[in-house]
């Protein structure tokens, strides 16, 4: 085997190689961000990533099937069909709701759990419904469950607070800008997500149907007032019962 040095730490790889490595999961840092951006922006690249998933899936198919225990379905069915988890799971007390481990675990396991079925679709003119706790999980399709950002929204005051609990991967020369997109409207910048402690959400952004997104922008943020870079994370408003 001849290995002639480190050829590709910084040089942009061939997109076909990048697609294979994204599907395999070995990319990190800037390479990963670039690949994710391509995945979102370039349908041909997304198709290539998918083709790679199909190539690699034979590995999974080679694993012997294993019958899960009988009551596993019951647990799934309960989580899905018996409405949002009205009881916090595993005797969680209120103080733990905002604990790091809770958020981490929650986002990592199913973004579902509580949020899943509690996804609330109000009329567009209905703003947040107070007794609930509102959150937005900024996630990406490609890294399912690895959401690096969570937004919490105080429904009465309509104050949004970003919580970092993953490790967003951002190239050194880019920043992450947070956008809110009201129903039927244009993206409106809420600022650079890392700089935001908390930010008010005026009408019409305080809608249960608003979408939130993070795009990668040049230092200082988008020069145009609209997203100019790839959108790396998106999420909608979900509610957790108090």
């Amino acid at each position: 085997m001849s290995v002639s040095g480190d050829r590709n730490t910084s040089e942009p790889g061939d997109p076909a190689d990048l697609a294979g490595q994204l599907a395999l999961g070995t990319l990190e840092g800037e390479d990963r961000v670039r690949a994710l951006a391509l995945y979102h922006e370039d349908p041909a690249f997304a198709t290539e990533v998918q083709r790679w998933r199909e190539r690699l899936v034979g590995l999974a198919h080679a694993v012997p099937p294993l019958r899960p225990r009988r009551d596993l379905w019951k647990g799934i069915s309960k989580r899905i069909f018996e409405g949002p988890a009205r009881r916090p799971q595993r005797g969680m007390v209120l103080g733990e709701w905002f604990g790091v481990s809770f958020w981490r675990r929650w986002a990592l396991t199913a973004t579902a759990g509580f949020g899943a079925l509690a996804l609330v679709v109000w009329q567009a003119d209905v703003v947040f419904q107070p007794p609930n706790r509102l959150v937005v999980i900024l996630d990406s399709d490609e890294v399912a469950g690895r959401a690096p950002w969570l937004l919490t929204i105080e429904p009465e005051a309509r104050i949004l607070t970003p919580v970092a609990f993953g490790e967003p991967v951002v190239p050194p020369d880019r920043v992450q800008e947070l956008w809110v997109i009201p129903p039927g409207g244009e993206p409106h910048s809420l600022g650079l997500i890392e700089d935001i402690t908390s930010v008010p959400l005026p009408d019409p952004f305080a809608s249960a149907e608003s979408l939130f997104a993070v795009s990668l922008e040049p230092p200082g943020g988008s020069p145009t007032g609209a997203p100019t870079g790839p959108v790396v994370y998106t999420g909608g408003v979900e509610t957790l019962p108090r």
């Binding site: 730490t9 490595q21 590995l59 899960p68």
Partner: protein
């Protein structure tokens, strides 16, 4: 519903058909549970992750695009991602000795009972992996089953990062050439 394709069932799930989800579960849970268990290495975690997988399928079915691949691949991708996330969050990978990789990371194990979904893919991939040099194959297997990134592979294999990147890239290229042949 028994005769329907997984694709049709996912369509039904996307509009809230609970029976369709149950049907999907019956057809795919042994496969997905096997994949999840392979990654997390513990039955209790596998139970939890597998539940998460079906909750996610329920929730994300509308995102599945037939043009972008097989339904089974889509579900396996979800299962693999969630399982890898779980071991990462627990900070404990199901560590295996390199020497044991063949046992833990099966090379050819087309299972005897399920002669259905995925057997051809498994056999073709397995044959192509066999053609690769051992270090290429190792990188691909470790990355697939343990979720290792390039730098984690480098650490695990005590090999310089650049070398591991080359092995992975080259291994994938050769694999593609073989599979597309």
């Amino acid at each position: 519903m028994a005769g329907d394709s997984l694709e049709a069932m996912l369509d039904a799930v996307a509009v809230g058909d609970k029976e369709a989800l149950h049907e999907i579960y019956q057809r795919t849970s042994a496969k997905l549970y096997g994949v999840v268990t392979q990654i997390v290495g513990r039955r209790d975690w596998a139970d939890e992750v597998t539940q998460d997988v079906y909750v996610r399928i329920w929730r994300q079915a509308h995102r599945y695009q037939p043009g972008l691949g097989q339904p089974m691949t889509w579900m396996i991708t979800i299962a693999r991602n969630l399982a890898i996330d779980r071991v990462r969050s627990e900070g404990s990978r199901h560590h295996v000795d390199i020497d044991d990789l063949h046992e833990v990371l099966p090379a050819h194990a087309p299972d005897p009972e399920a002669k259905t979904i995925g057997n051809d893919e498994a056999e073709r991939l397995s044959a192509c992996l066999e053609e690769l040099a051992e270090n290429y194959r190792l990188c691909i297997r470790l990355a697939y089953w343990q979720g290792y990134s390039h730098s984690e592979l480098a650490e695990r294999l005590s090999t310089p990062l650049g070398t591991v990147k080359t092995w992975t890239r080259r291994g994938l290229q050769l694999l593609r050439d073989c599979l597309d042949r």
